[in-house]
Symmetry: D2
Subunit: 265 residues, 4 copies
């Protein structure tokens, strides 16, 4: 059985109300307190997930793990537009990120994509995130701490116009306003044969990026968007939800090939 760690975010689930309470054990201390009664938070550490935990009034909450999806959608503190799970998942797969990999990204935003990368690279891997704005760094690190992933992330408080320190990274991801300005820097940092990913919200940005990309030895250029349509879950009236996000971002992918001297012409 997986047990609660003191860096976890946990869910206390009230079955009767079908209601979830998210608690960041790394930052919230003291007691959990509702009209059902109180629970001492330090008592939760070490308890197996799936257990029932009782308040001083005898009400039983179910102790559930918070998935990274839960955290990103419901508990991540957002100072910026985030990379949504549908996009984050596809980026992860397209960049072929796996346990042990080193991923470089910029900027850190609110840390949603950073957390997805950090979970995927595992304890042997590493995420290096470049970010200019200090308040974003603070907030993102706070978010990462709540899911126990901050140790896998190294933040560099710096403008990427100066370039990346790293060479031969396994994947590189840009979520910046003008990615076309940094493509050569990104190119330098990336391993030959590996993938770069870029996220931009507007068509104008895609156009500028594609123009700049033509001048560098990238192949397998893909521009995509993902639409996630949810359905109502009533079996007798199966139909899509009434409304959905129409757009989050355009995703651009490309693979670095070597040799400026004889690259794509």
């Amino acid at each position: 059985m997986t047990k609660v760690k003191e860096t976890d975010t946990v869910i206390l689930y009230d079955r009767e109300k079908n209601k979830k309470y998210f608690i960041n054990l790394s930052v919230t201390k003291g007691e959990f307190n509702t009209d059902r009664g109180r629970i001492k938070l330090s008592d939760l550490t070490g308890i197996p997930y799936g257990s029932e935990v009782e308040t001083h009034k005898g009400f039983k909450y179910l102790l559930l793990p918070c998935t990274l999806y839960d955290f990103i959608m419901y508990k991540l503190n957002r100072l910026t537009q985030i990379v949504y799970p549908k996009d984050a998942a596809y980026i992860l797969l397209r960049l072929d990120v796996k346990p042990g990999d080193t991923v470089v990204e910029s900027g850190i935003g609110s840390g949603a994509m950073t957390a997805v990368f950090a979970q995927a690279v595992g304890p042997e891997g590493k995420v290096i995130s470049y970010e200019r704005r200090e308040e974003f760094i603070k907030n993102a690190l706070s978010n990462l701490r709540k899911v126990g992933l901050e140790k896998r992330v190294e933040v560099k408080h710096r403008d990427i116009a100066e370039g990346f320190d790293e060479k031969d990274v396994d994947a590189l991801f840009l979520d910046v306003r003008e990615p076309w300005l940094y493509l050569d820097r990104a190119y330098e940092a990336l391993k030959v044969g590996r993938m770069m990913g870029i996220l931009v919200p507007t068509a104008n940005q895609v156009i500028e990026t594609l123009k700049a990309m033509e001048k560098l030895p990238f192949i397998d250029v893909e521009v995509s968007e993902l639409l996630l349509r949810k359905y109502k879950t009533v079996p007798d009236r199966f139909r899509p939800e009434d409304r959905m996000p129409a757009h989050t971002a355009y995703l651009i992918f490309a693979r670095k090939i070597g040799g400026e001297e004889n690259g794509r012409t």
Copy 2:
């Protein structure tokens, strides 16, 4: 630098023709042979990715890693409809699969989803795949071998009507014709608080599954579909491709909560 392993699938890239040759080193032996000349395949093992390798005629191919995405889209031998990367990526995230996890799935299909799970759980994790049809098992294992992932996968040649051997698995995925028949079995195998995923192509199957799911203590039921729209990459004429897949599958997700005695009411 990452070096070629003898279990890898590698890409030999011809820059002039912008053409890729995929070679499964674990199964293809002997020589790679084109009009550009010959390369002895056993010589590739140990060479860093990104190197140039020369044929006996002196032509230089660029040696590139094959991403899992590349493999699934272009080289996986398909005996069945596969789980497409857009869906596989989202399933992985929604099921919160991470390095070290144990994932159970059924059936194995052609092994695309299996490979995505196997890459994500890393060397410490495990994928257990139940499959009734022997030819699917053989083919899927052959596919997994070509990307060096078969050691993380245990296949059980068995009907899941008999139930799963495992308890407390971290994630459970069903890609079978009548998933509603096996929900109680899936429920038993899954850890409390963790996610089950189901993939079905038709609305009728979603309806049946939702009906059956109502009888079990699952919460957070989601039914979704993902549409991936690719764009042409010409910057001066930026527009979507002319055609796209209209449908691959409906995805169903649900979280197990404990206590049949006092489950969802």
Copy 3:
């Protein structure tokens, strides 16, 4: 120049505020009154659209026609879910409705689809609408009156289980909860070779309808849905709106062929 008729809905447009006021001349009498001053509504009749009309304080409003789209989206009084313009337009084209045609529909809903049919059939054409619920009839007729289309519409306050009075109609449209119950009635009323259209919100209803349709001599069966995605209109940041309707309805179309004795086999 087109002139205002006393049955029109008109728009008074305030250029400075970029604000539109919709006025139903057939039902609103007396004066239009804002802080810009007053306009006597009966004075508007006979004035060419595009004119400026002055309040007693000397402020000039621009007099604009209300399109049927404007009316449906902003001024139609809704007692029911309406048929949205994207769907209404496609239904009109698929049913091949043209000036002079006779169209039968059931139910009338709030009259949005009815109005679209009535505008398209022109003064020589006719729309016959069957509806059981009196409050819907009253409301729909009130809506139709506001766009001067009620004379082209004949409403029958009756259950279509009793069948349609008409034979050889040019187009037939069903927007009812259980269309599969009335397919034989619809079949009887329709001209050979012409199209029936059906609108239902759920997949379950499509499935039932398709099953029932298989028993009747219909060909060219189509089931479709239309997604309308709007874009933000800022040229420097061209991108889709953030949210969109995910679903309005499934549309079903079929063509009647003659001869029950030797219909589709």
Copy 4:
């Protein structure tokens, strides 16, 4: 009963094979001839649609009307990309085209949109189409003739850089490569308060058009795209088709308001 006119395109439907034969009576003369036997085409004029017509061998074809949708999708001779029915229908509704209206468009393309306009304006209305390329005019008129709509269409073999002859038209539609060059001309021709529609395939064209549009007194600017998703019609396996068009065009709409001196600010 509607009777066959000598300008109609008709369908001869073979029930046994579920096969349709489209015949343009205005251009095809002589006999219809299959292995089922021969039918003299001039004999079809005056026969009610829905009748059975017998070959000299005694086989009975069912005589069905060709809808405008049928014609556009299956029989229109295409020299250009056409405006697809989903788009044409929405354009028609957004431009508020009705019986008796005068519509101006450029270019004529293959005449698909022209035909939709011509059918909607009815015998009292008119479509004026500006087109530079003579081969397009010839082909479009030939298409229009086959559906008996050419009398409602006046073609002007001219570049719209010289402007439109018409003033106060009810609707104006541009399907040209660089619509931004002609917006002022379009503005002049349109009635105050009425709608202009523009169709362009690329985002770059939308961006240019929006920029130019900002300089003219247009309001209610909308940019949209329509996705039509068809479903398989097997009731026991209800699901979308495997593939669909990903893109036909972006649609732009705007309403002219009067007075350059005090237009949109």
